[in-house]
Structure formats: C-alpha cells, structure tokens
C-alpha cells in the first residue's frame, strides 16, 4: 500500500544556557523524540534533588545516599558522580541567608553542574545578587533580567504565556501528585508544547517537571524499588509530553530517566 507522508514541521523552541554555560535546555523543533518529525537528538536534563532539612524527607529515599545526604554539598557531588545533569537545591525557609548563599556557591563550585534553587524570596534574591559566575535557575514569580533564569510555576499554558511573554524563563507546571493527575499534567505540558511548536513565541520556554512525588505517596508495603519504578514511569510520561528537565529524588529513577531519554533521543 502506498502511504502518505505523516511527518510534521514545527517552529523551533527557545534554547537556554545553564550552569557555566556548557549545558543547554529546550530548543526542540518537533514533538518529543519523533524522528518522524526530524526531532533534535537531545534528551531531557535530569536534576537530582538535594534538601538541607531532612525532617520530612522519606527514610526509604535517604537510605540510598550512603549517609552523604546529611551534608547537602556532599550530596550534590554524589548526584554528579552518579550521572545527574544538574542539582535541584531546596533550602528550608528557616535557613539564614548568608549560609544559604554559601551553600549554593559551594554546590556550584564543587559540581560545576546547572543548579536550580527552591527557597524563600529573600534567599533567592541574595543568591541572585551574589553568585555571578553561574547561570542559576531560581524559583521566582516573575521573569528575571539579572543573568539568572526564573523558574515560574504556572497553572497552564495561558498563564505561562501571560506571565513569561517572550522573556527567557523556565516554566514549571508543578508536580505529579497522584496517578489520576498525571494525565492532567501531561495534557498541560502538551498544550504548552503544541502552542510553542505552532509558532507562539510566548509558549516556547523550556519546561521543568518535578516527579519526586512517588516517594511522598508511599503506601504500606511499598519499597524503594517500587517507588523508583513509579518515579521513572512518571518521568517517562512527562518526557514524552515534552518536559525538557526533570527533578528526581531516587538515583534509580534518575538512571532510568537518563537511559530512557538517551534511547528515545537516539543518542
């Protein structure tokens, strides 16, 4: 049977430089991974989560870091050793500003990876003004013009379009909270991607998605393997939807997400 062509062309999305300028996120020019549409051979970046306050951190996840999770800088270095592309540093609100800045600086210097910082507004602004030798991704409610990149939480594509406009930013559509909401999250990512690929420049920023929830949803009888499998599957779902960056908690899921991304991107 003679078949019609099914390939589709699209606008190229925005690419942002991160870290020391040697990492790039975004820049897609097709639906994710589709050679059919001439996909760019680039996989999503995987960010390992580091938290400076372990009081509510799941014990099952903590066990996987061989004690290095008690020192955030050492933990970040461990993520680099196991192949993560970046570090997501979550700093507790009660941390004093100067020690928070010092921690971010140490993580940047020791890992030389892209770093995203999730902290209170005063810590974020202090970090932005004092660290100038690395392009940080900073959780913000507004776009930035200080050399760093805002990570802006958005409900949907309309909100992302109106808050970011054509400014450089990273869009976060939140995180997976339970299985039933994964489809909704995927739908929001796909809508944003589709608008960007059809030429809407206000929807062309890279997207970051947090898939760590699998570890917060542990039911009785769950073990680390099952949580890792769920986290990796959710990572796969958002990658297929068009996420450019993922925040993961477990090393197993980080590894699987990286391998899946490499295979799908044909690297």
């Amino acid at each position: 049977m003679r078949l019609p062509k099914t390939s589709r062309t699209a606008s190229e999305l925005k690419e942002l430089r991160l870290g020391k300028g040697d990492y790039a996120a975004g820049g897609a020019r097709s639906l994710p991974f589709l050679d059919l549409d001439g996909a760019r051979r680039r996989r999503p970046l995987v960010f390992g989560e580091v938290i400076d306050d372990l009081s509510s951190y799941p014990g099952l996840a903590a066990e996987m870091f061989s004690g290095r999770q008690t020192d955030p800088a050492e933990w970040a270095v461990m993520w680099k050793e196991i192949g993560a592309d970046g570090v997501c540093l979550r700093i507790a609100d009660n941390n004093d500003v100067q020690s928070a800045v010092s921690l971010v600086r140490t993580v940047c210097d020791r890992t030389r990876l892209p770093v995203t910082v999730d902290a209170s507004a005063d810590i974020i602004e202090a970090v932005a003004s004092e660290i100038k030798d690395s392009i940080l991704m900073l959780l913000s409610d507004h776009v930035r013009d200080d050399g760093h990149i805002a990570v802006i939480g958005c409900r949907d594509a309309d909100m992302a379009s109106s808050v970011c406009g054509e400014h450089d930013a990273v869009v976060s559509f939140g995180h997976v909270t339970e299985a039933a909401e994964l489809g909704d999250l995927v739908g929001r990512i796909e809508e944003y991607r589709a608008r960007g690929l059809s030429g809407d420049r206000t929807c062309s920023n890279p997207v970051i998605i947090d898939v760590t929830y699998a570890w917060d949803a542990l039911d009785e009888g769950w073990d680390a393997r099952r949580a890792s499998m769920l986290e990796a599957t959710e990572a796969l779902a958002v990658m297929l939807a068009g996420a450019d960056m993922l925040i993961v908690r477990g090393p197993g899921a980080a590894d699987m997400a990286r391998v899946y991304g490499e295979e799908l991107a044909d690297l």
């Binding site: 049977m1 489809g183 393997r225 796969l236 779902a237």
Partner: protein, 226 residues
C-alpha cells in the same frame, strides 16, 4: 478515536483503557501452566485492565499447546490470546474456547484463513507499516495491528505513524497491539505504548509492582491516547 474489535467479549480500542495481558508459555507443560494462571490471577485480580492472558506456543507440539489452552481455560474466564506459528495448533486450540479468542503468531495468509474458519479476530504483525496495512486490507475478519516494536523508540515512532495514518487511511484505523518481554524495560516499552496510542499490550511477565504501575497508567491515559 481508533476503531475497535472484540475478542473474548472484551472490547479493544476506541475510548477503552488499554487492555493488558501477561503470558503463559506451553513450555511449562499443562500442569505448571495451571499453576501459572493461578499466580497471574492472584497478581492481577484487583487490576481492572489486566483482562486477558496470552498462551504462547514455544515448543511446536500441537497436542501440548492444545492441552495447555484447555487447562488454562478451565480456570480463566477472561480474555484469551492464542499465539502460535502453527495454524493447526491455533485451529484446534481456538475450538476449545467458547468466546472467540484473538489469534496471532503465524503468517498473514494463515491468519486470514483461520479467521474465516473460526470467526476469531486476528493480530497481524509486521515492522513494515505498508505491509501491515496490506494485511489489514486483505483480512476477512476484525483485526488488531502489531507493528513489531523491539524497543521504546520504535514503539513511539511506529505507533505515532499508525495513529497519524489512521486519520487518513481506513486500514490504519485499527487498535494497535504491542508485544513486549519481561521486567523493568518491558514496563517502559509497555508504558510508551499505553501513552502513545497502544490499545492491547501483551507482556511476557511483569511483577506485581510493575502490574500496579502499568494498570494505573492505562487508566490515567484512557481517552488521552486519542
């Protein structure tokens, strides 16, 4: 929305969540196949999308295959997929089952003939999409199409291609079947298929954790695939 077919009173395709199936090989022998089906039922009884089992002919002995199918069918009243390279095995085994199973595993001509004789829907398999749609065109019975994916990448590419073709060519408007193996990578391939237009997923084996995750994914992506 993709077309639908029905086998063993199970509807595949359309708005239905992906139908999931674990496999039983006749290499176990009929006695162990009985143990295996009970084990599958215990593992998946609360997972609503695990509606079928696939009985695979691995040793090419029609008598053993038929006996394996008979033993399983005395315990299992859900969907049945019969897979064999031997048309005679499929013909004999399908006659044992009251509600029409899905048959697969042999060449296109044999499957079409078997479909005509038994009334069973069939699963055509080819990595060449053009060949696959030729098979559909010549089929006298309802069918699912299996683009013979061998990894996540080919699953994504071929399922998407078929989905796009289904909007333009009636022969492509058939439920897509994905056949995969065991373990974590099989879960990944099955997940890609569930998220990208797959309607029937046959897995050699998956542990309880993998079954729970895949079942949840099938419910989550119900309708989203269209």
């Amino acid at each position: 929305m993709t077309g639908t077919i029905t086998f063993s009173d199970i509807t595949v395709g359309g708005d239905s969540p992906a139908v999931l199936s674990l496999s039983i090989t006749d290499a176990l022998g009929p006695q162990m196949a009985a143990v295996r089906i009970v084990e599958i039922m215990e593992r998946t009884s609360d997972l609503d999308n695990f509606k079928a089992v696939c009985i695979r002919d691995d040793i090419s002995d029609p008598e053993i295959y038929t006996e394996t199918v008979r033993v399983v069918s005395t315990v299992w009243d859900g969907g049945m997929i019969l897979e064999s390279r031997n048309p005679a095995s499929l013909l004999t085994a399908s006659a044992l089952i009251g509600n029409l199973p899905l048959i697969t595993g042999c060449d296109c001509t044999s499957l079409s003939e078997l479909g005509s004789i038994t009334g069973c829907p069939v699963a055509f398999r080819s990595a060449d999409i053009s060949d696959l749609l030729d098979m559909v065109e010549s089929s006298p019975v309802g069918c699912v199409i299996d683009p013979a994916t061998d990894n996540m990448k080919s699953c994504l590419e071929r399922n998407t291609d078929l989905h796009r073709l289904s909007e333009r060519i009636p022969e492509a408007d058939r439920p897509i079947m994905t056949r995969t193996w065991s373990g974590e990578y099989a879960l990944a391939v099955a997940s890609v298929s569930v998220m990208r237009y797959g309607s029937l997923i046959v897995i050699d084996d998956l542990d309880r954790d993998g079954c729970v995750i895949l079942n949840g994914l099938a419910n989550t992506f119900r309708g989203h695939r269209n």
